[in-house]
């Protein structure tokens, strides 16, 4: 009687030990499995695919937690800037008609070098480096 009870206890102990070990192993095994997603980074980011922009157009992209703007100049060259207006932080947009970057909040204008042309912005837009790798247009921030 006593012996069988003890056996039952040992059996239960073994069972729960296995459960406990499984609960430990599961997160570890899941952790070890490599992630498929592209690593996210705040230093460089894929802003767009090639062939998305046509000359004299622009588009916004996500750069870490801030928006950026990628522009194809009328000559077909890529340029990228921070899309956060230096005045009050609105998001700027590309104006194809004027070939300039425009902030709608207080009518601030920037040229294709990010320099202030007119309006209230106190500073130029931060410029990023752009290069093309395969099908991707990669935007890179100079060392933080």
């Amino acid at each position: 009687m006593n012996a069988s009870r003890r056996k039952f206890l040992d059996g239960l102990l073994g069972l729960f030990s296995l459960a406990g070990l499984a609960a430990l192993a599961y997160p570890i095994l899941r952790y070890i499995t490599p992630i498929k997603k592209r690593e996210d980074s705040t230093l460089s980011v894929v802003a767009s695919k090639i062939n998305v922009l046509t000359p004299n157009t622009g588009k916004l992209f996500k750069f870490g937690s801030k928006p950026g703007i990628l522009i194809m100049t009328p000559e077909g060259k890529y340029r990228a800037f921070s899309a956060v207006c230096t005045h009050l932080g609105c998001i700027v947009q590309y104006s194809s008609k004027d070939q300039q970057i425009w902030c709608p909040c207080h009518n601030g204008w920037f040229d294709l070098n990010g320099h202030v042309v007119s309006g209230p912005p106190p500073r130029d837009l931060e410029r990023y480096t752009v290069f093309i790798k395969g099908q991707d247009i990669i935007v890179k921030k100079e060392k933080a």
Binding site: P27, R30, Y31, I35, E39, D40, A144
Partner: protein, 353 residues
């Protein structure tokens, strides 16, 4: 009977008497202070947790100025259970320090350092220093704002060590300032040098305990003894499982923060303080004026702290009474007031103000 055969096969080639001794003959004395024996095992458990989670973190962590923060970010946001592994590693540091300190206090008050266990105490002292070293070298690795200033301020005090200070400072930082080079160096220390030394010293420490058995406090008569294996070991196991629940619970409910990426020229965030186990040192350095009689205050502070540490190191040789198995009340009183009350008070003070 398969088991016996296999054991015999091994026995013919290697002498297993040491292991047999551990499993069959090692006992643990039973008296009212027996629970104090758990702290050492607890510290060991947390150390193993740190090794396991540390190895896992290395799978994704990249020790460079450009990538360190981003890789931790990836671990926290994209790797499955990455948040758990990192949070356990962060909380594990705190709990391990707590266990190590409790173990130290317990052994001090039980006078476990007395003859013939002086070497066990000394090896334990260095393990405590190594534990602090782990925290010191590991904290800056995520390269967030807080980590950056921890590295900057932490290493700065090394520079005031006489003669070799400036050289040592540059050697640790990998240059004049705290940069990406610093990460590489701290990383090498954190994951290779310190673990090698610590594991070696832990083995030595356990070997001492194994050879000499557990110390019984002065004038305490054990009511009996229980076999270490499996009786005491199962009790240890129970404590470890409890510790695991606490650890995983803390990691789940208060996950480690990521913070902002370090920026070299940003100003230090307000209210920056070191981890709680560094607070006594931090507060002492803060209290000492910048110069006393023409000597730099930092140097005096470091001198004071080193002297204190040295005194703790040589306690087995100072406490002559205890080594004669006589009660050394003075050491208990000093221990209560200086080691415990003072340290606790200064920690709380530093935390609040």
């Amino acid at each position: 009977m398969m088991k016996e055969k296999m054991l015999n096969w091994v026995e013919e080639r290697f002498d297993l008497s040491a292991i047999r001794h551990l499993t069959r003959e090692k006992t643990v004395p039973v008296h009212r202070y027996t629970p104090f024996y758990y702290f050492g095992g607890l510290a060991l458990f947390f150390f193993v947790v740190q090794i396991v989670t540390g190895i896992l973190l290395m799978l994704y962590y990249k020790p460079t100025g450009e990538n360190a923060y981003e890789s931790i970010r990836t671990i926290m946001t994209q790797v499955r259970f990455g948040w758990l592994i990192r949070s356990i590693h962060v909380w594990g540091t705190n709990l391990m320090m707590l266990a190590v300190l409790l173990h130290t206090f317990a052994k001090y008050f039980l006078k476990a350092y007395r003859k013939p266990r002086e070497l066990t105490w000394i090896s334990g002292f260095f393990l405590l220093v190594l534990a602090l070293g782990f925290s010191f070298t590991g904290h800056p690795l995520p390269w967030n704002e807080f980590a950056y200033f921890a590295a900057k301020i932490g290493t700065a005090s090394i520079g005031s060590v006489p003669l070799v200070g400036p050289w040592l400072l540059e050697a640790i930082r990998g240059g004049q300032g705290v940069t990406g080079n610093t990460i590489s160096r701290l990383f090498a220390l954190h994951v290779v040098v310190l673990p090698l030394v610590t594991i070696g010293l832990v083995i030595l420490h356990l070997l001492f305990v194994q050879i000499q058995g557990s110390s019984v406090p002065i004038k305490v008569k054990p009511v009996g003894e229980i076999p270490f294996f499996p009786n005491f070991f199962l009790r240890d196991l129970r404590v470890w499982m409890g510790a695991l629940i606490v650890l995983v619970g803390l990691a789940t409910f208060i996950p480690a923060e990521l913070g902002k990426k370090a920026a070299q020229f940003a100003s230090a965030p307000a209210g920056l303080k070191p981890d709680w186990y560094f607070l006594p040192m931090y507060q002492i350095l803060k209290w000492i004026p910048s110069t006393i009689l023409g000597i730099s205050g930092e140097l005096i502070g470091i001198g004071l702290i080193s002297t204190g540490a040295l005194l703790i190191l040589v306690v087995p040789f100072l406490d002559v009474k205890a080594s004669r198995e006589e009660e050394s009340t003075w050491f208990t009183v000093i221990g209560v007031f200086v080691l415990f009350v003072f340290m606790l008070a200064i920690t709380i003070y530093a935390k609040l103000y």
